[in-house]
Amino acid sequence: MQEFMRNALVAGTFVGLAAGLAGWFVVLRAQVFAGDALGHVAFTGALGAAAAGIDARAGIFAATILAGAALGGLGERARADDVVIGSLFAWTLGLGVLFLSIFARSGGANGAEAVRVLFGTILGLSAAEVRAAVALGLLACALVLAIARPLLLASLDPSVAAARGVRVRLLDVLFLAAVGLVAAEATQAVGALLLLGLLAAPAGAAHRLTARPYLGLALSGGIAVGSVWLGLALVACVPALPPSTAIVAVAVSAYLAAAAPALLAVARRPPRRPYAASAARARANASTASETSAGE
């Protein structure tokens, strides 16, 4: 196996794992649009850093983590409504265009940097970049898993969680900051635009397949990692295929396969409520969850 393919596999595994775990909560909380916005923020952050002559990677991480925390802190219940998110990121993209033009005028390679950020460079990672991707991927996973239990309660029933002493606002901010970290990671692998392929598609498939939280989390991470591996294997067989397209195509196929039964039967059945049972269970377990978070 070539060096660049091994690097891509190692980095992609941890990026996929982090995106799958965080994505499961993103889908549960119906915050895919916020994740999408963070992808656009990553684009602007990278180009802003490039325009200022700083390392693009630093720009991406700073921009997405800050924007994630800001989005988390915005609305009541920290679910910034979609209009706010839409307006914010339309402007973010406008800023990106400005940075791109400044960068181009200062003699940087014009479209190349933008394309790299938008569509990823998983096959061009250096050994140091792989080490960084692994470390940050593990950090994001650890962060999500550490807050998983109180976050689950806060996502399913915020008022009960608040009554039980869970710090819902803090969790919202922490979680979106973690998603920002994941977004920055995934930007390197599949690019800012295709981020949703790893964040939404594997998680959506997991939510279709099971309503059990921890099984769903594991499944989501597994499907995301599997998508990266299978996508890279496809690229190894068909070199003309861009790697980010291959990875996202595999992930979306997994989602479609998981959703197919529901899509086929949709005309006949009323919409089901997959979380009714787990919400009830979470309410029953609420005391345990509040003890956990109080202990932290």
Partner: protein, 266 residues
């Protein structure tokens, strides 16, 4: 500044910008009311693979824009409302797939960089008179459809359950609206690029809805704001060194933030 109208490219840009702003302002008002911002954004990005595929196949770009947005609207209408989690996952997956395909098509099509730039960020200053005519036709169709169905659409958007009980075909209206939104988005993205459609679709409508709750006034206001922002952005871009996309989005965003800070939601 006086020379603004001497250049054909500026005149075409102003004409196209005017048409696009009115359609986006009106369709955007309904989109914001129906809380379909994410769906609108996804439709906007679906225009990108459509155009890239058309370029690759040697077909007219218009065909790609409108064909893919129509297909996208049908697919989005198939996403059943009711469960917000699964809805957002489905929309997100659709968007990721569309962008992945777009990247593949652009990659296959030689001239990756310049082509990608104009597909994503628009060719505001490269509009031709033929494009203006097409835009005018599309805008006419979209506005006619919206004005024909605006009362039941308003009812179905505000209270779907009551509307259904009164015999309003809510699902059909939802599909029809997505198709019209697709038309508007395709027309807009041809000019502003797939990524900047949002500036005209969301921000003027959101600003208008902060200012008034009266539907007719709100729609008119939304179109007027979109128009003002587009003209202002074009003039600003003409007289400064900044790109058009940045000027338009900044004006729209500035206005939205000002109104949001100055007024409580009504």
């Amino acid at each position: 500044m006086a020379g603004l109208f001497h250049y054909p490219f500026m005149v075409h840009a102003l004409e196209a910008g005017t048409i696009v702003a009115v359609v986006a302002g009106v369709a955007g008002w309904f989109m914001v009311l129906r809380r379909q911002t994410f769906a609108g954004h996804t439709l906007a990005l679906i225009a990108f693979p459509g155009a890239a595929a058309a370029a690759l196949a040697g077909l007219p770009l218009e065909l790609g824009y409108f064909g893919s947005c129509g297909l996208g609207a049908l697919a989005l209408a198939g996403v059943r409302p009711g469960n917000r989690s699964l809805e957002s996952a489905a929309t997100g997956s659709l968007q990721a797939l569309a962008l992945a395909l777009g990247y593949l098509f652009v990659d296959r099509y030689h001239g990756l960089l310049s082509g990608l730039d104009s597909l994503l960020f628009g060719t505001f200053l490269g509009v031709t008179s033929g494009q203006v005519v097409v835009l005018l036709g599309v805008a006419g169709v979209a506005l006619a459809l919206l004005s024909a169905a605006w009362r039941p659409l308003l009812f179905a958007s505000i209270d779907p359950a009551a509307a259904r009980a009164r015999g309003v075909p809510v699902r059909l209206l939802g599909l029809g609206f997505l198709l019209v939104l697709g038309l508007a988005v395709a027309a807009t993205s041809e000019i502003t690029g797939a990524l900047l459609v949002f500036a005209l679709l969301v921000m003027p409508a959101a600003t208008a809805q902060r200012l008034t709750t009266r539907p007719a006034l709100g729609i008119a206001l939304s179109a007027a704001i979109a128009l003002a922002v587009t003209w202002g952005g074009l003039v600003l871009a003409y007289s400064t060194v900044y790109p058009v996309g940045f000027c338009v989005t900044s004006l729209a965003f500035g206005l939205y933030v000002t109104v949001r800070l100055a007024r409580r939601p009504c």
